[in-house]
Amino acid sequence: MWKWIQKLASPKVFYETTNKLIPWFFWPFIVLIIIGLYWGLVLAPADYQQGESFRIIYIHVPSAWMSMFVYFIMAMAGGIGLIWQIKMAEVVAKVSAPIGATFTLIALSTGAIWGKPMWGTWWVWDARLTSELILLFLYLAYISLNNAFDNPKTAAKASSILAIVGLVNLPIIHYSVKWWNTLHQGSIFNDISNPSMHPDMLWPLLIMVFAFQFLYGVLALVNARDEVLVREQNSRWVRTVVMGE
């Protein structure tokens, strides 16, 4: 395992591996998103209380879940980069930020659009919504910190520290619906063995969650592959790759 990590830490191996992995994430994403959308938008029954409007959940929940998952990966990769000086970890952290920020934006906007007819308002300052908004600001601060330095090493260091400090927000988002009286409903996986959603509606949701996982995978791989080329532009192998194409 350790040997494998060390190998992957070499930019050339990293480039080749990402290149090979891209189709293994792209095609599952395409297949899952088609099945998930058809199942969720057409086959799944309407909700007994929310009617058709509940279908927004099929993008809201996966993107909200990914907004936290990507942040976790970003902070972990940043931490690994800080501690072991692995440049490829810095690359993973850097390219994850805009993807995670986009997922956060999707979660916030689809939630607001659902909230208007259901709650009666686009936005409330409850603990769940506020902590998710802070997550968006954390991503934006991370991105601007990363761009503020010319030296990629300093940039990675500063932004990774921010990302790790911001980790504290993740449990706050997750448990906000338990710790405080929020307008936002609790999790359907409150009792993990007995989700509070009917299976006919739950299956497409799980498929969409997997589709979004693969979506993050393919986007991160493509962006990481190109970021490596820029960073290693003075190596001989990059020249061979670019000129050979």
Partner: protein, 57 residues
């Protein structure tokens, strides 16, 4: 007539506006990420190509 009522001829009736708006925003943002990646792909390769051919001269 409100916008939500105007669009209620679409699938999902009175929630058509909200559902299509949500899915539309999501679609645009995700396509945006792919477009950004593909622009980056071309830009980086053409920049590096230029750089290397200049060095060769």
């Amino acid at each position: 007539m409100t916008l939500a009522e105007t669009l209620s001829f679409l699938p999902y009736g009175k929630y058509a506006l909200y559902i299509w708006l949500s899915y539309g925003i999501t679609f645009i943002l995700i396509v945006g990420l792919f477009v950004r990646a593909s622009i980056n792909y071309k830009k980086i390769r053409s920049q590096l190509k230029n750089k290397y051919s200049r060095e060769n001269d």
